[in-house]
Structures are given as C-alpha cells and as structure tokens.
Symmetry: C2
Subunit: 491 residues, 2 copies
C-alpha cells in the first residue's frame, strides 16, 4: 500500500519559502469564514487552495444555511423564532448525541451570523418556499427543513430555518462568490494550485505546512496558526472503508477534492478525531411525489412520515432499512405536482389497482394492499397513527397508481448521470474546541493547529439537516479565524 | 477537561526499570495468545496486567470461539464444513464491509487454531446444543450461531461453528484458566497491578512503555516490540461519545477496564484507527421465547426472522429500529420451553385475544392483529414470505397470549441488576496488518508496535457473531506474538 506520507516534518528540517500569521488550508466556505475573520482581526493571512480557483464543494452546493432564532428573513415571513426553539429542534434532528456545547453557541449566535452574511453582501429574498423539497426551484430565501413535521413539531415551536441566497436551485455559487470577494477585500492572499501535504511541527506545536505546487515542494511558516478547512474524506475510498463504510459505493457530494488530507496530516501529528462514522446521505427521492403518496420498503411497508425533511427519510432508508424502496403515488397526487418540482423524474411502474402494482414491483402478495388499505382508512379521518404525517398531506389514495424507485431520482436521471441512487459526504473529523483548536489524544489543544468545516467534527450527532454543514463550517470557521489571529503563537 | 496524558515519551528521557524482548500490555485472551506464541518462539516475554490477576473481560465472557472449516468437534457431531463456507457465512454475518484479508486467513487457519486450543488443554465436548440461544445451559461443545437461519442458509452450507469449553453457561473462565497456565509454562513473566499509560518512542519507533504501579512509575524497555492487547473502550464514556455513541447509556460487556488506554496511547504516537464506531450490542431478549413466537416493534410489526442468531436480531433492533420492542408468545409456545432456557424471565402482559394484548401494550389499534393474522395465515402453510423464518418454528399462534419486553431480559432481571435492556462492547480500534503491526496515518507499520484483540480492528464489518471477538483476538494475537518475537527490533 503506497500511500503518500502525511507524517509531520520537524521545523529544523525545513527552510520556509513563505511566511504569514495565519495559514488557512482550503478555500471553501469554512476557509473563507476563517480567512476573513483572521484578516479582519489584523492578521497577515494566506489561503492555500489545491484547485485552480477558490470555492470548493461549497460553491457546488445548494447553498442552504441553517439559521434562525429570529432572523430578518424569518420576521419578514411572519415567523417568531427563538434560539431555544432552534436548539431544541437541532438537538433532536442532528441527534442522537448532537454536540450540545457547540450547538448552544451556534443557536445563540445565529442571528449575528445571519447578519454577518448580509454584511458580506449575500442576498436573501424575504419570502418562503412552502413545500417539502431538497431545493426550491424559486428564488425564495427561506424554506422548511422538517421543523413542521412530526415528531419535531412536538419538540420545538416550528419555524422555517433554511436560509438560502436568492437564486433558483443550487445557490452555493452565489454564496461563495460573495465570501471570496470579502476575503480578498479583507486583505488575505490566496495561493492556488497549492496542495498542503504535511504539517511542520516544532516542540509539540504546529508552525507551518509543506505543500506541493505541481511538481514543486513549497513550504509555509505560520506564526500564529494553521487552520485546516480542506473538507471531509468522501473522495478517499480507503478512508471510507476505514471509518465510514456506509458511503462506499454511493455518489459523492463533493467537488472531488475531499480526500481527507487535512484530517490525515493532523492525526499523523497526534490529533484526535471524533465521530468519523457520521455521514450525510441523501436518497435521490423526490419529496414532491413522496409527501403526496407514500414511501414503502421492499416489503411494501411504510417506515416514516413522508412529509418529513427528505434528508431524514433518506437517512432512515439508507442507514436503517434494507432496500429496495418504492415511492407510490396516485393520479390525483401526481396531477397536483408542479412540473418544475418533478425534477425530470417519471414513474416507471403504473397499474390500475394496488394488487397489480404490488405484483409488478415484486412485493409479497397482499403486503402493499394491506399498507394502502390501512393508510386510506385513517387518511379518510385525517389521521396517521403509525407515522403522524400531517393532515395537510393525508388523502385516501385511489387508482390508477404509479411507482418510482426513489433511487432513480435526480442523481441518476439528472446531473450525476449514472448515479447509485444515493449520495453523501462525511461529517466526522478532527476533535476541536469551540474555538477550532484541534485536540490531541490527551484532550489538550495542539498549539498552532485549528480546524473547521468538514475537516472537523461539528455540531452533528448521528443526524443531518441541510444547511448545518455550511452553517457550522462558517460559524466555527469564523471563531477559528479569530482565535488564531489573536493568539501569541510562535512570533 | 483534565484527562491524564497519553502522549508518547522520548526514550532519551527514560531510564528503564525493566527490559524484555516482547512486552504484552493486557492479559486477556488476545494478550495470552500473543505472550504464549512470543515465548514459544524463544522471546523473553513480559506481560503487564493492570488488575490484580490475569483474565480480563475474556474470563467473564461466554467463552464462545467461532471456529470451523472441519474441526474435530464439527466432525464428531456429523457436520462437514469447509473454510470457504465459513468465509461466506462470516463475510455476510460480520458485514457489510467485513475485513476480507483478515477473514480469509482466519477461516483458512481455523482448524489449526482449534487444535492450538486443544493442545493448551481447553476442553471441548463433542456434542451439539441444537436450539437458538445466547449460551447453552448444558456442557455441549458446539452450538449454532445463525448459520442455519435465513438468509445465511442460502449463502453458505450451514454448519454450527460456535465452539465452547465444557461447562454450562459462562465458559470464559475455563478458557482463560487454561491459557494463563500455558503462558506461564511457556516462560512468560507477568507483572500485575501495572497499568501502561504511555508509549516510549525513539526515532519513529516504539521501544517501551511507561506504566503506573499503585503510586509508582515503572518503565519497561521492549527490545523487539510492544503488543497492545488491553481491550476496547466501552468503559470510557468520553471515547464512546467521540466514536461509538450508540453504546452510551447501555450496559457494558466488560470487566470494567476497557478504557481505551491502548488505543489512545497508540494514536497519540501517530497510529491510525479503523471502524471506531463498530460495536457489538445485545438486546437482553430470550431467544427461546422469540423463536417460538414473534418479535415486534412499537408499531406491532415484525422486522426479522426470529430464529436468527440473537446477536443479529439485537443489532437490527438496537441499531436500526426505534424501541419499544415486544416478544409475543402463545401458551403452547411457552409450554414448549425448557424452564432452564427461560433464564428466569416471566411474561409481564397476558391476554386472551390479540386485540386485548395490543391495547395493553399501547400499540396502534389493529396493528398487532394485522401482524398475527398475516403470520398465522402463512404459518399454516409453513411459510414466511416476509422474513423467511424456518418452517421448524412456524405454527399459527392461538390465544391466550403473553408479551415480554425483551429489555427485561437477563441483564435486567439477572446478573446485571438494574440493566438498561441492552449491553455491548466496542469493535473498532487500531489499524493493523494481518501480523498485528500497527499502521500510522500514511499506511506504514510503526516499528515496534503491535496490537490485537479489541485494541485493534479485526475481522468485523458492521455486524457481529458471538465467538468472533475471542476468535480473532486469539488468532491475530498469536500472529502478533510470533511477528514481534521474530523481528530484529531495537536489540
């Protein structure tokens, strides 16, 4: 096994080519937030980016930011919200075992964080997209991310908290465009095509990095700190096998550079990790179809309220229910869907009766019939005693019926070509304090070493909600940038 | 956070109190196997044990060893078995993502490994316990561990492979008694009450350990290698929160010393880990009841064939199905169970009809009725199209009925007092080669450092079968002992 070495290099062996106060490794959203705050605090900041331009996976993302507690967009849309409600929701939705210390800070600081984005010229339209979905096909600035679905609506007062820049569908491009401009304006310098490979250490602390620029080795001294924001490890098959095998064989939500290099060079220097098995995984299912019909497993049985945030039904499915899965809808439900919300997906099976549909899907005889019969019997009364789907979406299903394999969704039929029906990224990473300091295996911060974004373990327990990765990456990236800039360091 | 330091200590700063060729840290089954082989290969071996006597968690265990491929016990009981069938079963049952390289060696070497135990005087009675169960209440030497249940009986030719020393119930004591005697006879010396805390490193390699004996610091030089066999980390709440939070709040299958110290002192020295989230978790359910009745979730629905190895229905339940769970049985089924096989458990709910039982259990109206009706309708024909329970256990259930919360099982009512209804241990650990060499984060072995047992990641993917922990711990412990003894080291 000939992996490139990620072992640390002793400072005594290095002649430094470049020098700065704070060195940020990776220019996605977390790196941008860290670089901006470090520069704004007066530090001389250098950002290394391995690609030929900044943006990273963040620039290709949906651009959702999970924010709340009473932002201007929430108020304009008529919602009262509090940090406590936000905390209660996220504790449940990102759980079990969400990081309560980080989460508390994240919720309490969320309105300020929202204003920070606005001050960096990120545009948010003050309108709500009011339907279950992955990403609005509108320019609306606010969306629900499961807050109004059972059981979350019994845990915290529901308010939509999915904030997104003003553009249809993928909004990560606008987000990063604004943050990149802000970083430049704050005075940070970027070195592109520069791939950090090893940390430089001196007496137990980190004082720089060794990098590769094409065939050349380039070395950087960081007087106050190195901040690792180079993403997670979904693109590294060996690391997936070692730490998060559930993602093996699935699509990668990444720009292709999430190779875990930041995590590996830090653990090689004695850094501790946390929750390396935690992942986001999205089934390529169409929420517009599913909330109007039902989602069943390979035994024809429902397993979750279909109006929940699609990240949650995905997680339940891919992590906990053996496939196959089927999205079942009737003609009236199908006719109710806006064409733009179908994401180009077409039903693959159709039948006049449930019995015929069941047979063509290869489900056990009578299984889907029993499910639909029970569902209809309660839907008639606006109830769902099994999974508590909201009455808004309950209606007895009547033939003709159609079925879609939710894994034939937008990845497969859409942008990702021959997809596997599910895709995701890693949530585990370096063990950090709330100021982004990386801990060693004895629980002590390693002097000069910081991390944020998916190189670190953030607010997440075993669950995931859209907007919490860009959200905690930028929030704790900012804190790491400030902490590094204000440290005494090795100056 | 004031954790004790696990950071490595430089050899230049250490004056060694003791010296040996091979130093084994931890005297459970893996440590015994490593120490025996190292000593048998001619090395001067020292074993450190933090407790006042050897044995560790292994001595308190059921003592099952997963062995096969045609052992003498299997042959005497009339079973043909091959390494390939053993491999196919374990690949599925320990999967997904079992370690195929280690598994291949483990299966191919299994008959030899069985003979090694016999040569160490471990007694195996050549008789079969032919019922689903955690541990036989007999002295039988062989038991099924799910090989004859669906889907495994379609994947590999079924043969029982649960080998166990000749005693009713817990057989780990006998196993360790014999191994401890063999280690002493081979010439290895044991230092008890000695808790290794830090590795001693020299130029990138490991050359010894620092330990604590009561209030004293004691140092050990190991000329050829240090073998870490100090168990997993189920007793370390912080490590569970960081790496395997699913075990938080559950009972611990441990002698109380599985604090992850071996893993932590190695990662502090730059060792890589693997599969830190993997766990064994056992629901305290009674297989005798469950295979004769049914196991349902909080919606009154079955979710697995009840005749499968109880470790597998436990894993499916605790990891993938929200509780509560209920074991349902009828009078005829209850009367069929040997009293000794009830483990002292008594039904907590009883009713003449399914509708009454369903109501008293708080299940959705009609849910359990539907489940029992479907079950009975197919059981009449000896079929189970949903979960493929074997016809041997299929019989329409007739009132009166009883229910047991499977979490009221043997931990709660039995030896563990006020248990939580489930208990387990960790399977993740240091990333090792097939010879127990510990890898760094660049994939290279760290000179002088070895690990086996639950301090290392072994053959397991996401699944677990009884006997594979003692099994792979001793198998790869032996390999590590030989490898360390035969290395040139720092002599």
């Amino acid at each position: 096994m000939a992996k490139a070495s990620v072992e640390p290099v002793a400072a005594a062996e290095v002649e430094f080519d470049h020098e700065c106060d704070v060195l940020v490794v990776g220019f996605g959203a977390a790196g941008a937030a860290a670089a901006y705050e470090a520069a704004a605090a007066g530090a001389d900041v250098l950002v290394l980016e391995r690609s030929s331009g900044p943006g990273g996976t963040s620039a290709q993302s949906g651009g959702e930011l999970y924010l709340g507690g009473g932002t201007q967009v929430q108020k304009a849309c008529g919602f009262d919200d509090t940090p406590d409600d936000m905390f209660a929701f996220l504790k449940a939705a990102l759980g079990p075992h969400a990081d309560e210390e980080k989460l508390r800070l994240y919720c309490d600081g969320s309105v300020e964080h929202f204003e920070w984005f606005r001050a960096r010229c990120v545009p948010f339209k003050e309108t709500l997209f009011d339907a279950p979905g992955w990403m609005p096909y509108t320019e609306d600035g606010l969306m629900w991310l499961g807050e109004n679905a059972w059981p979350y609506n019994t845990i915290a007062r529901p308010a939509p908290r999915g904030h997104r820049p003003e553009t249809p569908m993928f909004a990560g491009g606008i987000l990063m465009e604004k943050l990149i401009a802000a970083v430049a304006e704050a005075g940070a310098v970027t070195h592109q095509d520069t791939y950090a490979t090893n940390l430089v250490v001196d007496g137990g602390g980190v004082v720089g990095v060794v990098a590769r620029k094409f065939s050349e080795t380039v070395t950087y001294r960081a007087r106050r700190g190195v901040i690792l924001t180079s993403g997670g490890f979904v693109d590294n098959e060996e690391m997936l096998a070692d730490h998060a095998p559930v993602l093996l064989g699935h699509d990668k939500v990444s720009d292709g550079t999430s190779d875990g290099s930041g995590i590996r060079m830090a653990t090689a220097a004695g850094a501790a990790t946390r929750r390396m098995a935690a992942v986001e995984i999205a089934l390529t299912a169409n929420p517009a179809v599913i909330c109007r019909g039902m989602l069943v497993d390979g035994l024809g049985r429902r397993f979750i309220n279909e109006d929940v945030y699609p990240g949650l039904f995905s997680h339940r499915a891919v992590q906990h229910q053996p496939g196959p899965y089927w999205a079942i809808i009737d003609e009236a439900g199908h006719d109710d869907i806006d064409e733009a919300d179908m994401w180009g997906v077409r039903p693959t099976h159709a039948a006049e009766t449930v019995a015929e549909l069941e047979e063509s899907l290869g489900l056990p005889p009578g299984s889907l019939e029993q499910t639909v019969e029970t569902y209809n019997q309660y839907a008639e009364k606006g109830e769902d005693p099994y999974f508590h789907k909201d009455a808004r979406w309950l209606r007895p299903l009547k033939g003709p019926f159609a079925a879609i394999d939710p894994r034939d969704g937008f990845f497969g039929a859409g942008k990702h070509g021959a997809g596997t029906g599910a895709g995701g990224f890693t949530l585990g990473g370096l063990d950090t304090t709330v100021d982004g300091e990386v801990r060693n295996n004895s629980g002590e911060p390693i002097p000069g070493l910081y991390a944020a974004g998916r190189t670190a373990s953030g607010i997440h327990g075993e669950g995931y909600i859209s907007g919490t990765s860009l959200g905690d990456g930028t929030f704790f990236g900012r804190r790491a940038g400030r902490a590094a800039a204000l440290t005494k360091g090795s100056e």
